[in-house]
Amino acid sequence: MTSRTGLRPLFALLLASWPVRAGAQSQKSVSITPVQSLSFGLLVPGLRGAVRITDASRRAVVALAGRGPVDITLVLPSSLDSPTGERIPLQFATGDAAFLNADGSTISTLDPLQVNRVQLRNDRTILFVLGGTAVTATTTRPGQYTARVTLLVNQPGT
C-alpha cells in the first residue's frame, strides 16, 4: 500500500500533464493570412509618402488566428526596389503598426521594430496592420517599386 500510495503523485503528475500537452497541441493552429499589401500608391519624386495605420485602403493587413500568446517579429525592408535596382528608402517608427479587432477597433498600437506579443483566442481573428513612410528623391525615376515584409510569428512554449 505504501508503495501504491507513493505512486499516486506520480500518476497524478502524469495525468495532469496530458491535458496540458493536449492544450499545447491545439495551439499549433496559429495561422497567418495576408489580407492586404502595404500600398504607397502614386508618389511624386522628391516628396515623402506616408501610409498611416488608419488608412484602411493602403495599410498592410494580416489576419492572425489561433490560440494563446504569440510574438510577432517583423523583418522590415529598408527600401522599395525597382526591377532595375533603383531604391526608395523606407522608414518605420513607433505607431506604424497595430493590433486590431476584426471590427477595426484598436487593441494596441505598436512599434514595428520591436517584438510584439498578442493573445490569440479561438473565437476571434486579430488583424495586424502596418504603415510606413517612403522617402523619394527628386532623382527617383518613374516606375514600379516593390518590397516584401516578412512576419515571424512565434508561439512560445508553456
Binding site: 508503495s3 505512486l7 506520480l10 500518476f11 502524469l14 500533464s17 496530458w18 496540458v20 500537452r21 499545447a24 497541441q25 495551439q27 499549433k28 496559429v30 495561422s31 497567418i32 493570412t33 495576408p34 492586404q36 499589401s37 502595404l38 500600398s39 504607397f40 500608391g41 502614386l42 508618389l43 511624386v44 519624386p45 522628391g46 509618402g49 498592410a60 494580416v62 525592408p77 522599395l80 526608395i88 523606407l90 502596418l130 510606413g132 517612403a134 528623391a137 527628386t138 532623382t139 527617383t140 525615376r141 518613374p142 516606375g143 514600379q144 517599386y145 516593390t146 518590397a147 516584401r148 515584409v149 516578412t150 512576419l151 515571424l152 510569428v153 512565434n154 508561439q155 512554449g157 508553456t158
Partner: protein, 163 residues
C-alpha cells in the same frame, strides 16, 4: 513496482519536452509604390516686341518652363508658320532663334531651326527631375515693321512628347 515506476517516469519525460515546444510560422506581405512621371509645361512668359516704330528693327524674347523626369522630344507643330504675327496688315513672320536652356535667358541647346515639325531635340530619359525652359528669341527687320499700324499677334506652339 519498479517497472511501473520506470514506465511512469518515461511517459512523464516524453510529455515534458512537448510542453516546452514552441511554434514558429512565417508569412509575408508585399509593399508597393509607383513613382509617377512628371511632364508638364509651366506658365509662359510672352514674347513681346513692344511698341514698334514703323521702319525700325525690334526684338523680343519669351519662354515657357518645362518640368519633367522622363525624356522628351521637342518639335514645332506649326512648322514654317511658327510664331507668325497677324494684324491689320499683311502677316509678319519674325526671325526666330529657339532652343532649351537651364535658365530662361540663355540656350543650353539651340535648335537648328524654328520651323520644323520634325524632332528638333530628342532627350532620352532623365536622371531625375529636370527644370528647363524652352526659349524663343524673335527679331523684326525694318522692312517688316514698315507696315500697316495696329496690333499684331500670334501664338508659338511647342510640342513636347515624352520619350
Amino acid at each position: 513496482m519498479n517497472r511501473t515506476l520506470r514506465l511512469v517516469a518515461a511517459l512523464g519525460m516524453l510529455a515534458l519536452p512537448t510542453l516546452a515546444q514552441a511554434q514558429s510560422i512565417t508569412g509575408s506581405i508585399a509593399a508597393t509604390a509607383t513613382i509617377q512621371s512628371v511632364f508638364s509645361f509651366g506658365a509662359p512668359t510672352a514674347l513681346s516686341f513692344g511698341n514698334v516704330t514703323p521702319g525700325t528693327t525690334a526684338s523680343g524674347s519669351g519662354y515657357i518652363p518645362m518640368q519633367r523626369n522622363v525624356g522628351v522630344i521637342y518639335s514645332l507643330p506649326d512648322g514654317a508658320t511658327t510664331g507668325q504675327l497677324t494684324g491689320p496688315g499683311p502677316a509678319i513672320l519674325p526671325t526666330y532663334t529657339c532652343g532649351v536652356g537651364t535658365t530662361s535667358t540663355a540656350f543650353t541647346t539651340q535648335w537648328a531651326n524654328c520651323t520644323s515639325t520634325a524632332a528638333l531635340q530628342t532627350v532620352v530619359g532623365a536622371s531625375g527631375l529636370v527644370n528647363e525652359f524652352v526659349i524663343f528669341n524673335g527679331s523684326l527687320s525694318a522692312a517688316q515693321t514698315n507696315t500697316v499700324p495696329g496690333l499684331y499677334s500670334g501664338t508659338i506652339h511647342i510640342l513636347a512628347t515624352p520619350n
